[in-house]
Symmetry: none
Subunit: 221 residues, 2 copies
Amino acid sequence: MRVLLVEDDDLIAHGIQAGLRARGLTVDGVKTAAQAETTLSAVHCDVVILDLGLPDEDGMSLLQRWRADDMALPVLVLTARDAVEDRVAGLRAGADDYLLKPFDLDELVARLHALLRRAAGRSVATIEQGALRLDPERGEVSLHGRPVVLSRRELALLGALLHARGRILSVDQLKDSLYGFSEEIESNALNVHIHHLRRKLGADLIETVRGVGYRFNMGDA
Amino acid sequence: MRVLLVEDDDLIAHGIQAGLRARGLTVDGVKTAAQAETTLSAVHCDVVILDLGLPDEDGMSLLQRWRADDMALPVLVLTARDAVEDRVAGLRAGADDYLLKPFDLDELVARLHALLRRAAGRSVATIEQGALRLDPERGEVSLHGRPVVLSRRELALLGALLHARGRILSVDQLKDSLYGFSEEIESNALNVHIHHLRRKLGADLIETVRGVGYRFNMGDA
DNA sequence: AGCATCGTTAATGCAGCCTTAATCAAGCCT
DNA sequence: AGGCTTGATTAAGGCTGCATTAACGATGCT
């Protein structure tokens, strides 16, 4: 899952990025509304975290513009102000959720996952597919009821594949989902992670489509 | 299916070509309006992807000229994101579809297939003929309900034959459909692919018309 | 600081696909 | 019937892409 973080305060931005990355989310951080727009038009993101106090444009008006343009991405608004009317105005401007600063990182993560869930049309926190169960929020996976320990990258990869619900994802698409703008990779690392996932979950769960990409095998219940 | 890609940016062009080829489409890439015209007059194509920002002539005027000349080929226009009015103008100038850059490759492929479908007068995504079913977009084939795995060339060949709806296609026509301008072949490779197709689908589906070519046998349900 | 785990890189091996080419079968002609 | 042309069949080789493994470096934990 890839998150765009729009936050001009370096300290806060850094903290959020570290926290989210540690929990397996991919984060692109930008500091201005203009950069946010550029990034969104260039890469695929799943959710936006938007601080309202930006240097170049008020976050609220940016959000309103997005919604006017039919930008459907879930947006979580961060606001320092404790004014109640800000909250109302934020939601009215099209925010899907909001959080007052200072906030608890765990709470932010929980709300992000809730937004992602809602955007995917799921009502429960876990994704089940056949004998596999994934709880993205807690980072827990089980197969046939037995817990399986996955690393950060493996979790992100499995999440992306499951999220695609059996559609084929190219290596580039998977890379987009696993690696932020600032951490591109050169090698076949993704290949290796696929291999590790297969070793832990069984070779048949992830299917190779030669010349195109990979897909999660939904075939067997 | 053969696609003419008119795009001057090497990076974008290369990405599109790789993606389309991986999905079994044949692509000829050119960089200028002049080359596009030359190519179109020389070889048969099924659809054109046209970037509006060309070095020698504005894509829009090129398109208008084509339409004035009764060029009926489906054209998908690529345009930069910010030019909303371009979209309107593009459609008015005769584009059959448009896509904003940057775009998702899957979306491009989906729209191309939609255009091809529309041009062929089909409303559904799959082609059914007797016990055979082909989904060109997903690259899936089934015979008597059982899935059959075909390679890239086999898919392209079967697609061309089905697209012709029982008309005879000469070996040269089939080659045109399978191989782009830059990848001509010398040998009887096409013969071999015909053989493989017959082995997988049954010998009677593809009929040989001696001295002329091949045709898909529509006779038997 | 030392240890452990994870992630990336890079090298190697394997498999599938495509083409080539050689041989075989079948029409067609004289 | 015999030879010639055209297509069918099969095997072999190369290429490409993916799988696999090992090693190195980074990071975090104790």
